[in-house]
C-alpha cells in the first residue's frame, strides 16, 4: 500500500501559511518560527513570532498539529465508547475530563441523583490526585522553561507516586478510562485508602520544599513577576478560566460555583492571585495559584479518604458498576455541562435526538484552547525570553488545544 508523502516546495506555504509575509513585514522586523517541534512550546504548538531585535511585535499561534478529530469521533461512536477519547484530550488530567463527561451524560439520562455516595467520593479522590499530577507537570516544566532544573526532577518524582497510585486503581498510567458513565470501572483496591493517607503525609512537606526551592526563589521571582500581566477584564473577555483567571484576581472556581459531585460537602479554599511579587495576573501569580491548589487538593483528598474509611466504607455488596446503563439513550435535548479541570472550565455540549445512543453533536470546550487565545494580547512588546515564560505559564496541553 502506498503511504507516501510526496515532497513539493509549496506544501508548507499552502498548508500552514504565515500571516505575515515579506510584503507586510516592516523594515527591521524579523519573522521567527518557534515550534512545532520545540521543547518550550509544551507540545506541537507553532508560534509565528514577529520580532524587532529582542522585542516581540506580534505572535500568531498556529494550531492543529495534534488534531485527532475528537468531535467527529464523538458523533460516530456510542457515549460509553467516547470515554477513552476523552482521556486523550487533556492527557495530563484524564480523570478530570472523564468526570466531566460522565457527569454530563448521567445528567442527561437523569441518573445523576442515584449515583452512590461512595462512587462520588472515589471520583473526587482520584480526580484530585490527577489534578495534583497535572499541576506538578505544569509547575515543573515551567521551571524547566526558565532554567530551574531541580524542581522539575523533584516534581516528576512525586508525580510518579501519583501515577503509580492511579495505575493501581485503573491499570493504566496516564489514560485511565476509570470513571464510567453511571459508576466506576472497579472499586478501589484493598488498602488504597491507607496508602493515600501515607502519600498525603509524604507530600505535604514536599510542597513546602517546592515553595522554598522554586516559588519563593529570587531568580524565579525576577523572571516571572510583572511578566505577562493579564488584567482581569481582559481575562474575562477572552473567556479565560481556571488558575489563570484566579491568578488575575477573581475567586472563581466551578467546584464552588456549580457545586457538582460531592464538592459542596467538602471544605476547601480557592486561592487567588494578589500580585504579591508584582502586578496581579502576572506569571508568578498563576504559578503560585497552581502551587496553592495542590495543597487544597490534598485537603480535599484527606476528607474524601476519611469518608471512604468511615461513612461510606467498602462493603462486600457494593458494586460500582451497578448503575452503569446497558444502553445509553438520553432523551432528545441540548445539554451543556461544565466542570473545573486543572486547566480551567471544561465544557461539553451535547445534542441528542433520543433515537440513537450516539450524540448528534458533541462539542468540547477545551480550557487550553481558550486560554491560548490570549497569548498574542499579553505578549506584544515583551522580550523573546519572556515570551517563553508566558507560554509556560499558560499551562497548555496541546492534546486539548487541538482535540
Amino acid at each position: 500500500m502506498e503511504i507516501q508523502y510526496k515532497y513539493h516546495p509549496d506544501h508548507f506555504k499552502n498548508s500552514e501559511p504565515t500571516v505575515y509575509t515579506e510584503e507586510t513585514l516592516k523594515s527591521g522586523e524579523l519573522l521567527i518560527n518557534i515550534g512545532p517541534q520545540h521543547p518550550s512550546t509544551h507540545g506541537v504548538l507553532r508560534l509565528e513570532v514577529i520580532s524587532d531585535g529582542e522585542i516581540v511585535k506580534d505572535v500568531v499561534p498556529h494550531l492543529g498539529y495534534l488534531h485527532r478529530c475528537f468531535e467527529k469521533h464523538a458523533e460516530s461512536v456510542p457515549f460509553n465508547q467516547v470515554l477513552p477519547y476523552v482521556d486523550r484530550m487533556d492527557y495530563m488530567a484524564a480523570i478530570n475530563s472523564e468526570h466531566a463527561y460522565a457527569m454530563g451524560v448521567e445528567q442527561m439520562l437523569g441518573i445523576s441523583e442515584q449515583i452512590p455516595k461512595r462512587v462520588e467520593y472515589i471520583r473526587v479522590l482520584v480526580a484530585e490526585l490527577n489534578r495534583i499530577a497535572s499541576h506538578f507537570v505544569a509547575i515543573g516544566t515551567y521551571g524547566l522553561d526558565i532554567g530551574a532544573f531541580t524542581p522539575f526532577l523533584w516534581l516528576m518524582r512525586d508525580r510518579e507516586h501519583i501515577l503509580r497510585l492511579l495505575e493501581w486503581v485503573s491499570g493504566a498510567r496516564m489514560l485511565y478510562n476509570y470513571i464510567w458513565i453511571g459508576g466506576l470501572f472497579y472499586d478501589l483496591p484493598v488498602g488504597f485508602e491507607e496508602r493515600c493517607l501515607q502519600f498525603i503525609k509524604y507530600l505535604k512537606p514536599k510542597l513546602d520544599d517546592l515553595d522554598k526551592l522554586l516559588i519563593e526563589n529570587k531568580i524565579f521571582i525576577d523572571r516571572t513577576a510583572n511578566v505577562g500581566v493579564l488584567p482581569l477584564d481582559l481575562a474575562i473577555n477572552y473567556g479565560i478560566t481556571g488558575p489563570m483567571l484566579r491568578g488575575s484576581g477573581l475567586k472563581f472556581d466551578l467546584r464552588k460555583v456549580d457545586g457538582y459531585s460531592v464538592y459542596p460537602e467538602l471544605d476547601f479554599e480557592v486561592p487567588m492571585g494578589k500580585g504579591e511579587m508584582g502586578k496581579t495576573g502576572d506569571c508568578w501569580d498563576r504559578t503560585w495559584v497552581r502551587a496553592q491548589e495542590c495543597r487544597e487538593s490534598l485537603k480535599l483528598m484527606e476528607q474524601c479518604v476519611e469518608q471512604l474509611i468511615s461513612t461510606h466504607k467498602r462493603t462486600r455488596e457494593f458494586d460500582p458498576r451497578a448503575l452503569v446503563p446497558k444502553k445509553i439513550r438520553p432523551k432528545a435535548q441540548d445539554f451543556y455541562i461544565r466542570a473545573e479541570n486543572p486547566k480551567g472550565e471544561l465544557g461539553y455540549f451535547f445534542r441528542t435526538d433520543g433515537r440513537a445512543d450516539v450524540a448528534v453533536r458533541c462539542k468540547a470546550r477545551a480550557p487550553s484552547f481558550v486560554n491560548l487565545s490570549v497569548l498574542p494580547e499579553i505578549s506584544r512588546g515583551v522580550m523573546i525570553a519572556d515570551l517563553i515564560a508566558i507560554v509556560g505559564s499558560l499551562d497548555l496541553v496541546l492534546g486539548e488545544v487541538d482535540r
Binding site: Y5, K6, G64, K331, Y336, G347
Partner: protein, 171 residues
C-alpha cells in the same frame, strides 16, 4: 434568572420578542433570527441587569441534508449574577452566514474560526477568518454530515477502503 423578565427587557430595549425554545434544554435556550444576534449579544453583554460577561462556548452544528439547516449555539454565562443561558440561530445550509460576535467577546474569535474550519459557517465581520485546526489547503468541512474525505493530501492517502486492508496492512 427570570425567563419572562428577560424577554420583556429585551422587547423594551430592542423591540423584538425572543422565542424560548420549547425543547428540553439545559441551560434555557432562545431561538433568534440571524440578523438579531449581534444586537442581542451586545445588549446582554452590556446591560447591568444581566451582564453576560463570559461566552462559555460557541458551537456550530449541521443538521444534515434532510433538514437542510445549520445552527450556531452560544452559551453565555454571567459571572457576577451567576446566570446561564443559550442562544440558537438556525441558518440555511447552502449559505450559512452570520454576524461575528468577536468584537463583543474575544473568546468568539477562535471559536468562530473553529466553526468556520470544521463546518464552513461564514462569520461576517470576523477580524481574521482562517482555518484553525485543519491545514489551509484541506478540502471540505469534516463536521458536515455529508462530508467525504479527499483521496490524497500531499501524496498521502487520506481515504481508506477498509476492505483493502487485509494482508496485515495497518493504517
Amino acid at each position: 434568572m427570570n425567563i419572562e423578565q428577560i424577554i420583556k427587557d429585551v422587547e423594551i430595549s430592542l423591540s423584538f420578542k425572543m422565542v424560548l425554545d420549547q425543547g428540553l434544554n439545559s441551560p434555557e435556550c432562545f431561538i433568534l433570527e440571524e440578523s438579531q444576534i449581534h444586537g442581542i449579544c451586545q445588549f446582554l453583554h452590556e446591560d447591568s441587569r444581566y451582564y453576560f460577561d463570559q461566552l462559555s462556548s460557541l458551537t456550530g452544528l449541521d443538521n444534515g441534508e434532510a433538514a437542510n439547516t445549520m445552527e450556531v449555539i452560544y452559551h453565555l454565562y454571567s459571572i457576577p449574577k451567576d446566570y446561564r443561558m443559550a442562544l440558537k440561530v438556525i441558518l440555511p445550509r447552502e449559505t450559512p452566514e452570520i454576524d461575528s460576535v468577536a468584537d463583543i467577546w474575544r473568546t468568539a474569535d477562535w471559536h468562530e474560526r473553529e466553526a468556520f474550519d470544521l463546518l464552513g459557517i461564514q462569520f461576517k465581520g470576523h477580524p481574521d477568518l482562517r482555518r484553525i485546526l485543519l491545514p489551509t489547503d484541506w478540502e471540505g468541512y469534516p463536521l458536515r454530515k455529508d462530508y467525504q474525505e479527499q483521496e490524497k493530501y500531499h501524496g498521502m492517502t487520506v481515504k481508506y477502503d477498509r476492505d483493502e486492508l487485509k494482508n496485515g496492512d495497518t493504517i
